[in-house]
Symmetry: C2
């Protein structure tokens, strides 16, 4: 038995597709520049903060004589933040571009994310190392990490380590925060008269790094398909056994793109979208009622089973719970000693007595184990760990209570047996779908072209992703262009705006149009496992979200 | 957006492979009979209980002139028990065989499992209905159920309903219990001078219906591959993030075949095998120590992450926990009223005081939330619901305590951050792998041939499954041949022996040989999603368990 599986071996042989403009000698690819750009908002403030990198033009790569020289260069690369399928292919595209242009060029992978840059921990990427990771999932080649590069002390250290290695450029593969930090680093290097270039690549399964120039972040397609496989399998189980309501929580703290995409793929009975819950100022009782509505309607048809999708961050978007959590955080840090002296079993009652009337009422409405979760599982700063709250259990228990009352009032005669699931780690390191494998390789290859053409403070971009890969448009977008000013930890900061689910966007609008039918009928769809081979409509399609967003 | 996904549409077009002996006109397939058979054990007792169906010969189907007449017949089919990928293909194989032999023949699917037989709820299978379910997962075509057919009142009702429909035969697709009941039903019909034949098909993802004649039950291959996909993805995540220990519980109450197969597919650090735990009379502390051993060894290398696989039924195989559960069941039913009067928070202390010294000690050693789970979540008969015990949390908490002590003694310096998962419903209704699609279709087709040749009390059998489908050997095994006498609910009953993991079998022996290395090294393998297309080594392989069992 070998540790290299049959699929992994077969995937090594996959040749990722590139836009046709890039499928020629690098000398025949020209960088075409547009006119000066402005930031997304707060132009004055951003311009002041980025005097050297603000206003750069959008770049696109087309057929034509390149003005770049292809001397040997040294490039560093880091993977930052949570894993997303395809990260290795970004490195492969960058590596292949570098070596194709000049075999003397070198690529260094910093280990464990940004901390590898600070600690000068790295390895040189070689052919044999690269070949072990082509078209595979995970970030295990150089690992990842969550250290944030924000302070000037850190920037100095990065500069020092980069100079020691004689780096010409650094590629930061990360989400909105990491790319924001990349933009600041690019500006910092320029301000320090360093010629080291910084290029970003849009990574996150959450799908919340996107805008008119970044059509999707990589990994979203594969992760959402993996979760949809499982949700579809569970829905088919529910249709067969006809006895359970499955409450399925899905990764995605800030944005509900994953839940929405999975809903479009599998057509569950109820899907909660955090952005809508917040916009409508829904209470926990409203959310419970929405689920119970579906349960009761279906019970009338004799169907005591169904599927509910819940985004991981939901509770933070319910205003009254958000307020309760804020109160708990404040109160627990103020009265830590007093709290510590309370006997375990009496803690919920003590907490209840400390809260204001509104928060106390909300706290009292929660099932007892959730009351305990809110006070016991705190992070080192004493804050409630929202990611550990078992929202799927919280909701199913409250729905059960709601149904008991409805039954007592003669309004409901069904049976309600809920089961909980949480999917996140199952999809972040899947073998990238053909779409993500191609997209990532193209992102990496494009990041090389941006470096070769002297750009800094750019993010690698592929557009027209709804078309076949050969027709994609490769280029670079100035990172400052995607920025605005937002309050973070009490200070106004320049950041890349996080893309939440837009309630007037086409994906949500489609969902809103059909969900009442889905709530009541058995309209489930079963996507099955991601296919890397077979008919093109099975193995080469991208997300429904992207398809709807790009539809006329 | 359609509810029929691209994969489902593509799978409709898949033509399941049959053994070459069956790929000809039914008139050219002859039933070759061996000599009289004996039951697996307790021959006298089984013979007495099955006077009409005991001792029948093994049958195999070969090329040759059939002696069967192919008059129009009516056949009923039921799906019994938990879902397993491929159930629809068994029905498809049966349906196609029936219609090929005589287009006037009819197939009736009884709805919701055995209860459909009792309540005469059924539908007639038609071409268009069948085509909606070919090569799909789930049992949703006619659903399944867990009603057991055991009493003579039930048998009379089944006979009455079958006669009303003028059924010639009944195919029972189920696990060991359902096939045992099928054997009893076949005998009962004979005893009542009914000519209605009964044929079984071996179904269960648990893999515990197998013996020298039944090489594997259907669904095991697909379910284990689906879980292995997820375990591999999580292992890759662990290798990338390098900060979590994932405790993964896998379906399989009685037997640990799934955990073992997933271990062979993914090479996790620790895999617990219930049968070994019982054979070695391991205590909970022993199990905790086995896991902690791996955690500590890996921490010495700086690897504070890993994967632990836990079979769902583990706690029932730990003798001291099994004893505790039995005591709790007795005590809680004896003292139900007294218990009901105890305030919630004081229940664990009350329970503790009622137990004998040994059980009290074990109970006290458990984390508090598990203490609550053991007394709160009881079934309608007042018994502890073992399937609801969160064994993954129980073990990770106890390992954490163990490590805290080791740290205090200076024996461990690592960090331990565990996460729990439970996989079961995710795999029971996946689209069947090519192996399961072919195997199930062949089982169904063979069940038709057994009917056409006048057999009853047989189970459909395909052998030499390690070879390509064209070389499989199709036939039938008398159900009585797989039986012995076992004590069930205090009475000796004739039953098909459940196949547990054999500790001297090749799959376990291989695992035992390599596991110490896996415990310490990063030897993970990443199988990825089930592929239905592509290179044959990617999409046509069956389980490693079967491969090892059939190896010389």
């Amino acid at each position: 038995m070998k540790s290299i599986t049959a699929l992994q071996k077969a995937r090594y042989a996959y040749l990722p597709k590139l836009p046709s403009a890039l499928m020629q000698d690098v000398k025949n690819v020209v960088a075409v520049k547009g006119s000066a750009t402005e930031s997304f908002a707060d132009q004055q403030a951003i311009k002041q903060l980025f005097p050297h990198t603000y206003g750069q033009p959008i770049v696109s790569f087309e057929s034509g004589a390149s003005s770049a020289t292809f001397n040997p260069i040294k490039v560093g690369v880091i993977l930052s933040g949570g894993q997303a399928p395809g990260g290795h292919n970004v490195i492969a595209g960058l590596y292949d571009g570098l070596k194709k242009a000049n075999p003397q060029s070198q690529l260094f992978g910093f280990l464990g994310g940004p901390s590898g840059l600070l600690e000068a921990k790295y390895l040189e990427v070689t052919d044999s190392l690269m070949d072990e990771y082509r078209n595979t999932g995970g970030f295990d080649m150089i690992q990842s990490g969550r250290t944030k590069l924000e302070s000037s002390e850190q920037f100095d250290l990065v500069l020092e380590n980069a100079q020691k290695l004689s780096l010409d450029a650094l590629v930061v593969i990360g989400g909105d925060d990491s790319n924001t930090n990349g933009a600041v680093l690019a500006e910092y290097f320029k301000a320090k008269n360093s010629s080291i270039q910084v290029i970003g690549c849009p990574k996150t399964i959450d799908g919340d790094l996107k805008n008119q120039f970044i059509e999707t972040s990589f990994g979203f397609d594969t992760a959402a398909k993996t979760y949809s496989e499982l949700i579809g399998n569970i829905a088919r189980d529910a249709m067969s056994a006809r006895k359970y309501w499955h409450f399925i929580k899905l990764m995605g703290r800030s944005a509900s793109h994953i839940a929405l995409e999975c809903a479009l793929q599998t057509r569950p009975n109820v899907t909660l979208i955090s952005e809508e819950v917040e916009a409508k100022q829904m209470t926990l009782a409203d959310v419970v009622q929405e689920i119970a509505h579906s349960v009761m309607k279906r019970a009338e048809k004799g169907w005591n089973f169904g599927i509910v999708l819940i985004p991981e961050g939901l509770v933070e978007f319910i205003p009254e719970i958000k307020a309760l959590i804020a109160k708990l955080n404040d109160m627990m840090s103020e009265k830590a000693d007093e709290f510590g002296a309370i006997e375990l079993e009496k803690q919920p009652e003590w907490v209840h007595a400390q809260l204001d009337a509104k928060s106390a009422e909300v706290y009292a409405s929660l099932p007892r184990d959730i009351q305990f979760q809110l006070i016991l599982d705190r992070d080192p700063h004493g804050n409630v760990q929202v990611s550990l709250i078992e929202t799927e259990k919280l909701l199913s228990k409250m729905v059960a209570s709601y149904l008991e009352k409805a039954k007592a009032e003669g309004k409901y005669k069904g049976k309600f047996a809920p089961l909980g699931h949480f999917f996140g780690y199952e999809g972040r390191c899947a073998f990238p779908s053909n779409f993500d494998a191609d997209y990532c390789y193209s992102l990496g290859y494009t990041s090389f072209l941006l470096i070769a053409n002297g750009m800094t403070g750019y993010i690698s971009s592929l557009r027209e992703l709804q078309r076949p890969a050969s027709e994609w448009v490769a280029g670079g977008i100035p990172l400052t262009m995607m920025m605005n000013m937002e309050r973070r930890h009490g200070e106004m900061k320049p950041v890349i705006r996080k893309a939440l689910v837009e309630l007037n966007g086409k994906p949500f609008q489609y969902f809103a149009h059909v969900r009442e039918k889905w709530a009541v009928e058995n309209d489930f769809a079963y996507p099955g496992a991601i296919q890397y081979y077979g008919p093109t409509e099975v193995c080469d399609q991208t997300s429904i979200t992207l398809g709807l967003e790009k539809s006329k």
